[in-house]
Amino acid sequence: MKQIADWALNVVMQRGTSYVDLRIVDDRSRALATKNGKIGSASVSESLGVGIRVLADGAWGFSASDDLSRAAVEATAARALEIAKASARVKQHDVQLAPEKPVTAEWTSTYKIDPFTTSVEQNLDLLLKIDSELRSVAGVTLAETNMQFRREEQWYFSSDGANIHQTKFVTGAGYTALAFAGTEIQKRSYPNSFGGQYQNRGYELVEELKLVENARRIGEEAVALLKADKCPEGKFDIILDSSQLGLQIHESVGHPIELDRVLGMEANFAGTSFLTLDKLRKLRYGSDLVNVVADAREQHGPGLGTFAYDDEGVPAQCTPIITNGLFTGYLTSRETAHTIGENRSGGTLRAENWNRLPIIRMTNISILPGEKPLSLEQLIASTDHGILMDTNKSWSIDDKRYNFQFGCEMGWEIKGGKRARMLKNPSYSGITTEFWNSMDAICSRDEWTLWGTPNCGKGQPQQVMGTGHGASPARFRNISVGSAYKGT
């Protein structure tokens, strides 16, 4: 791979380029799914190619090719340079890169069982067993399961001398039961919606998820929701389960702290951010209990945002984002760090694959658990009247990340510290900072889970990226509930 890199670097560095880096990525995946007792899909795929990023005349160019022959790599590098020079026709200032010491490094994500060594028969047997459990519940009209593995091997080289080889395994699995009756479709998912749980781990994740053990309960809950009372409308104290809180963090903390958004670079598509630069270290983002970090380091856990180096050779870091409620940090890159007075990138530049330009992406954006021991059951017991909401069903937030609305699959009314009745179609809405300032309790480490969001979209052309979000259940006071069905 070093030779391929040298072909590219030699071509462009001879022609006045100030910086170049390239990534060669070998990406392999397995995707299996079942539906109502049958195989829904079964596929494997592989993709190999090179993406070359060139800085010339103060502007960026990027070109990528699936052809790793010398002629093609040299042509791709030359094309990236040509594109950079075209970019320089429309610029206000030259790109400035924060310095980064080049390193030579090897890293592989931690795993116990290489998922690709497990047999497809074994995978399908498990999925069909889950499917059978789900459909053993009368009233379940659609049972869907899925399992996905990915192995991404990347070689990164830069004209500064970096040489970084990283291999990452991603494993994910989950299922959904749908119940249709009359004029209503209800749904329950496990362990999370939109495909289940995903982490940078091996097959051991699948073994730990207790998938079969929970299937019948999930089927029963889907059917029970058809007869449950509708979630009331009004102001309530709410408790969010950890997976829903993970998505709340993703949408109302993770995206607004992306410095490229703040600087207007995503204004045409993903939007901008209410977190303008004047708010750094001044805005009271949340209550004193709210502590959020952006942590890509292995010690944070095997999240989808865990790595050793980002896609421009910057080591994984932990950045305090919200510290005791105060807004303290953005997600940055070598190009953007200087805009907030930093002399080093926060290490968050990542690309979907070899054919995409790396952009600022969330790493693991996690809320830290409460320091005092507090279980979910204890939190419920300390709530006089409220609504517990479980597992996301719908999610939407405006393009500056102020106003949000989330729907969940299942709710429970809490009365006198106890779960009183199941509620269907629960939803809540609010304004980001008002919401986080209303948090008055968060469960401790025992209830904390590092969730994976495998499908975060950003950029043009759009890139899908996995992000991690650690959370434990938390309570929010006096929240607007039920707006999703208001007036409909």
Partner: protein, 459 residues
């Protein structure tokens, strides 16, 4: 670009390497380029080229797929073997049909969607167009962000029963956001032919929306008459077409469960799926190589019929729903096999109204309402009533006594698509439109009564 003759040669090798009963190969790829600008600067500028083959093998009712972007002999052997290994461990699927020997009913050729001038667009040409857009922003003291993309792509299918088909097309797109201090405007257009894209006019319209909506006022949420520009219509409407496939009914996951044949929308709503429409794009064959048929999905508000992949049609004919879903026959809308979704209409064309109105005419006839340029972050709240939530964005205006009065802070909506399409008071001439939440369609602007805004945001 990959040529059909090259693909035919590759497929011959794939067949040679395979021991399966049947083999199918899908070819995909192309070259795409995108110049991205923000803060009146080109900040990202990319191009990529990639081709691949996806091989499906079949052994006695068992099938699976393997995909690679490497087309040399060794890689082809590997991908064939991977597909076969995966297929052999599947359980036999009694619904799996043999690969088709032909593409079904031939609708004749579609309009050419490959334009040499589009394929030949250079980074310099895109930069020059961006320079003009930036010039318009600077003229109005605005900041602009957006994209100009161009490219060429190929899609092909070959199977061991002799069916083959091939489609090439070009694409170009310009999307522009203009930002003022506290307001913004947006426009977007795309076409296989770059000559159809008038970036300067789009930039001027986006700019006027930005500076005409400065100092947005907050007005209360509630039910309003709304004038939805075509991009806003398609971004909402796109959420229902996944339910117009036969498998969605068989799975009982469709909002059309027990509703096919009923009048679900207003008399003025008629919808076709028509890949041959001159304003449409995409290939004329589906994931199995069946030719896409023109299907009228909705006629004067009545949901007429669904689309079908071959296997879904067979299954539907023997199901309890067969007499309740209209005509049942393969329509050429299947996704590559195996898949869980079955099929969907992806070339939507709304019927023209008897008396088309322009957006200024819709504004003139509105006593009190909201003009919506674009919607954002739309998600489904209720799958059967098709309640969607989302936000307005980049140009939301208050209309009173037939005139645009001022820009307003953006709203959150929670609105049923069924309700929305039952309350369309006026419509424009359908145009090719493009949004961000759904696939491109041929849709009109719509004036809709009692549209349900539930909250207001802070800008």
């Amino acid at each position: 670009m990959l040529k059909k003759t090259q693909a035919a040669d590759i497929f011959a090798r794939i067949k040679k390497y395979s021991t399966a009963d049947e083999v199918e190969a899908l070819f995909y790829g192309g070259r795409s380029a995108l110049t991205r600008f923000a803060n009146n600067t080109i900040h990202q500028n990319v191009e990529d080229e990639n081709y691949g083959v996806s091989v499906r093998t079949v052994f006695d009712g068992r099938t699976a797929r393997a995909t690679s972007n490497k087309l040399d002999d060794e890689s082809l052997k590997r991908v064939v073997q991977a597909s076969e290994t995966l297929a052999k461990v599947q359980h036999p699927d009694p619904d799996l049909l043999p690969v088709p020997a032909n593409g079904g009913k031939d609708n004749g050729p579609i309009p050419s969607r490959y334009f040499d001038a589009t394929a030949a667009v250079t980074p310099e040409q895109r930069a020059d167009a961006v320079k003009k857009i930036v010039g318009i922003a600077e003229k109005h003291k605005l900041t602009t962000a957006g994209i100009f993309s161009s490219g060429e792509s190929v899609e092909g299918i070959f199977n061991s029963r002799g069916r083959s088909d091939w489609h090439t097309q070009t694409s170009s797109e310009v999307s522009i956001t203009m930002l003022a201090g506290d307001s913004s405007g947006w426009q977007k257009a795309n076409s296989p032919n770059v000559a159809d894209i008038d970036a300067v006019t789009l930039a001027e319209i986006a700019a006027s929306k930005a500076f005409e909506s400065t100092n947005p006022r907050e007005i209360p949420a509630g039910k309003y008459t709304v004038i939805l520009e075509p991009a806003a219509v398609l971004d909402m409407a796109g959420f229902m077409f996944w339910d117009f496939g036969g498998l969605a009914i068989l799975d009982q996951r469709s909002f059309l469960n027990n509703r096919v044949g009923t009048k679900l929308f207003g008399e003025n709503i008629s919808i076709w799926d028509d890949v041959a429409h001159p304003l449409q794009s995409n290939s004329p064959f589906d994931g199995e190589g069946m030719r896409r048929q023109r299907v009228q999905l909705v006629e004067n508000g009545i949901v007429n019929r669904l689309v079908y992949a071959r296997a879904t049609a067979e299954k539907m004919k023997h199901s309890e729903y067969k007499d309740k879903v209209g005509p049942v026959e393969p329509t050429g809308h299947g996704f590559p096999i195996p898949n869980e979704m079955g099929e969907a209409p992806m070339n939507i064309v709304f019927g023209a109204p008897a008396e088309a109105k322009t957006i200024p005419e819709m504004i003139s006839s509105t006593e009190r309402g909201i003009l919506v340029t674009r919607l954002w972050y739309i998600r489904e709240v209720d799958p059967y009533e098709k309640i969607l939530t989302g936000m307005t964005r980049d140009g939301t205006f208050y209309v009173e006594d037939g005139k645009i009065r001022y820009g307003v802070r953006n709203f959150r909506f929670n609105e049923s698509l069924i309700h929305m399409l039952s309350n369309v008071e006026e419509m424009g001439t359908p145009v090719r439109a493009s949004g961000e939440e759904s696939f491109d369609m041929v849709v009109p602007a719509m004036k809709v009564n009692d549209f349900n805004f539930t909250e207001v945001t802070k800008f």
